[in-house]
């Protein structure tokens, strides 16, 4: 600003007058900048900041008898996230159910992220190393599941995992197990379903980074005595790391808040955070607790994002 001001001054005829002209121009500049960003600001306020504020306020109110809230300040919603009063002894104690749901959410999200990385890296590598035409075909196939409703796809998974479903039938027939396994309504089922649902979100960014990979570097690595193992760990993986990190964020965050998949495949028993929040606004009729849980979820996501930003900026420093 200061520099721009000086330049204008030097261009104008007289000192005093020029300073005024410059100041006026700057004011106009700022005003037009604010006006131009108004649409964006309105949308952000209406769609993000406003609802968030309502959730934050509700979390400090008293639950109404039939849902909704009573406008009386109350911190019980927040306390209820992790603590509850024992009905008989009036003692404060941890809410084991909530803690196990937190734990399951974080655990399953991390597991989902890891399995999608494990499956996604070879898949993306395979696609990126195909000849041009085939690459498009494979990418197209990857995006096909997005065309079908999530609920339908999840029920399809449920059907696969049923006691009499194809997975169990095959296992029994091959003699790997004596009797059908209980696959439905387990953490495994939820993890399996989420891996399936979020895999494309992992494959696409990794594909983008592998596609950008300079394969001359791979040749240089081979030339310098790196075998296939070293090549992968020392050259390819570090170079596609940005893609893996981006994919992990894209998978981990929605995993934490997943609702449909745990609801269908966990059978309402193995809840995750999304289901717990839903419960408070529905049957639980405890909107303040639900709001407090929502904000807790957001904080966990934000911690994950901050970590990402730190890793990513360190990455940028490395690559200059």
């Amino acid at each position: 600003m200061a520099i721009a001001g000086t330049q204008r001054t030097s261009l104008a005829a007289t000192g005093q007058n020029a300073a005024e002209v410059a100041a006026e121009a700057e004011r106009r500049d700022i005003r037009s900048r604010w006006l131009l960003s108004t649409p964006a600001l309105v949308i952000i306020t209406l769609a993000a900041v406003g609802p968030l504020l309502i959730v934050a306020i509700y979390s400090f109110l008293t639950p109404g008898d039939y849902g909704n809230v009573v406008w009386r300040f109350n911190t019980e919603g927040w306390v209820g996230v992790v603590l509850q009063k024992d009905i008989f002894s009036d003692q404060w104690q941890w809410v084991d159910a909530h803690l196990s749901i937190f734990w399951r959410s974080v655990k399953l999200s991390i597991l989902t992220t890891l399995t999608t990385v494990l499956v996604g890296v070879p898949t993306a590598y395979f696609i990126a190393t195909r000849p041009g035409r085939w690459r498009d075909v494979w990418l197209f196939l990857i995006t096909i599941p997005f065309w079908t409703n999530l609920l339908i796809r999840t029920y399809a998974i449920l059907d696969l995992l049923r006691t009499e479903g194809p997975v169990n039938t095959t296992l029994v027939r091959l003699g790997i197990v004596d009797k059908p396994l209980q696959l439905m309504f387990t953490d495994f089922a939820i993890g399996f379903g989420m891996t399936y649902v979020y895999l494309p979100l992992m494959v696409l960014p990794i594909y983008a980074s592998i596609e950008k990979l300079d394969f001359r570097l791979v040749e240089a690595g081979y030339d310098l005595y790196a075998n296939r193992w070293n090549m992968f760990w020392r050259i390819i993986l570090p170079l596609v790391k940005p893609g893996i990190i981006a994919g992990s964020i894209l998978v981990f965050i929605p995993s934490l808040g997943a609702y449909v998949t745990p609801r269908v495949l966990g059978g309402g028993k193995n809840m995750m955070l999304g289901n717990l929040i839903d419960l408070q606004f529905g049957q639980g009729r405890n909107w303040p607790l639900g709001s407090a849980l929502s904000i807790t979820l957001m904080v966990i996501v934000m911690i994950a994002l901050l970590y990402y930003v730190r890793v990513a900026s360190a990455e940028r420093r490395n690559y200059g």
Binding site: L217, Y222, D223, Y225, A226, N318, Y319, G320
Partner: protein, 378 residues
């Protein structure tokens, strides 16, 4: 002078031992209509401790040959021998051969030292040995102070040196250089040419250098192989290639040349002679494997600097009128329109105070210096 000759003899003796040999190598890419023969039955032997250059226009197969030696591609037919052992089937990481890539291909996620030490690390050398070798390499390419820099923070010339150090660090038996200087500006390129010669001299490693720049090939190489359309046309010392081109393509690709048609005559005193279009005869050198017989018409070449413009048309071997005179400082080019048709360029050195006195339109003769005429195989 004697000492220099002695050293040259030594080098020649060492060279007698073959470092890399391509035996009947053919490389075909693609199939059907997309089928491209990149190398067509190429056989070549590269001596130990030699600075050997593969020279040719783009698409001539020189880089393909280099990649076959490095192991990035495998030949369709034929074998690659390294010190007599067939390495055709080995993957690149099992060949004691390293490459300097055209765009350096430095690892962006490693420091300068990390890049240079990578090969040794992969060979499983102990850390102290790697560190010592990295320092030695950095000294060799005069980059000591940039050891811990990121490769993105150094200039193109410096990246070039790091790429060289990285390829030399594992002490390969042969160093392959794929147009390593093409991305540098002229001044830096000249500097690196000298630097490369020094490195080859100091390390005593066989260098196989790929370039399309004829000047680079002539100034740096012990021997040059001129390639075109997947074939090796001629192999020889730069002087041989320049003075005694065997084929039209070689003569044309390297330096400026005058092409003439002449009739092959019976040798006089053991020396082949040709009859020029002007009717005069002159001694000529014949390349090996020429299949022209007495009375046949052959192409001959005369380098512009191997001819002279003389004032009296009848005293030259050719005659014509001066079409153009271009002054270049060190020398002057005379373009002569020959009486028998066609034009002929003569390049004469400018000496102080020796005005030639020729003017455009003058009737002149063209005399040849001794041994100026080279017949071609085609």
């Amino acid at each position: 002078m004697r000492a220099a000759n002695g050293a040259a003899d030594d080098a020649a003796a060492k060279r007698a031992e073959t470092a890399v040999e391509a035996v009947g190598v053919t490389k075909v890419f693609g199939q059907g209509e997309e089928r491209v023969v990149a190398l067509d039955n190429v056989s070549i032997a590269i001596g130990e401790n030699e600075f050997f250059t593969l020279l040719g226009p783009s698409g001539c197969g020189k880089t393909t040959l280099l990649r076959l030696i490095a192991g990035f591609d495998h030949s369709t037919e034929g074998r690659i021998l390294l010190h007599g052992n067939d390495i055709s089937a080995l993957p690149p990481f099992k060949r004691p051969v390293n490459t300097v890539f055209q765009n350096y291909a430095l690892f962006p996620h490693m420091t300068v030292a990390g890049n240079i030490g990578f090969g040794l690390e992969m060979l499983g050398k102990p850390r102290p040995e790697i560190d010592a070798r990295v320092d030695e390499m950095l000294r060799l390419v005069r980059m000591g102070e940039l050891k811990n820099r990121e490769t993105s923070q150094i200039s193109g010339g410096q990246q070039q040196r790091v790429a060289l150090a990285r390829a030399l660090a594992p002490a390969p038996e042969v160093l392959l250089l794929d147009e390593p200087l093409s991305a540098l500006d002229l001044k830096l390129r000249k500097e690196m040419q000298i630097e490369l010669k020094r490195l080859q001299h100091e390390t005593g490693i066989t260098f196989i250098f790929v370039t399309h720049d004829q000047e680079e090939a002539l100034t740096m190489s012990d021997r040059v192989a001129v390639m075109n359309a997947g074939r090796v046309l001629q192999v020889g010392a730069p002087r041989d290639i320049y003075d005694r081109p065997a084929e039209r393509f070689v003569a044309n690709f390297i330096g400026d040349t005058n092409f003439l048609q002449a009739e092959l005559l019976a040798p006089a005193k053991g020396r082949p002679r040709v009859k020029l279009p002007s009717g005069k005869t002159v001694g000529a050198s014949l390349p090996d494997g020429i299949n022209a017989a007495r009375g046949d018409t052959v192409s001959i070449v005369v380098r512009p600097e191997h001819a002279e413009v003389v004032a009296k048309p009848s005293s030259g071997l050719l005659s014509g009128s001066l079409g153009n005179i271009v002054y270049f400082g060190t020398d002057t080019h005379y373009h002569v329109n020959l009486d028998t048709g066609g034009s002929f360029t003569v390049r004469m050195q400018n000496l102080r105070g020796s005005e030639s006195g020729f003017a455009v339109g003058d009737k002149v003769g063209i005399a040849f210096k001794p041994d100026a005429v080279q017949a071609l195989r085609d």
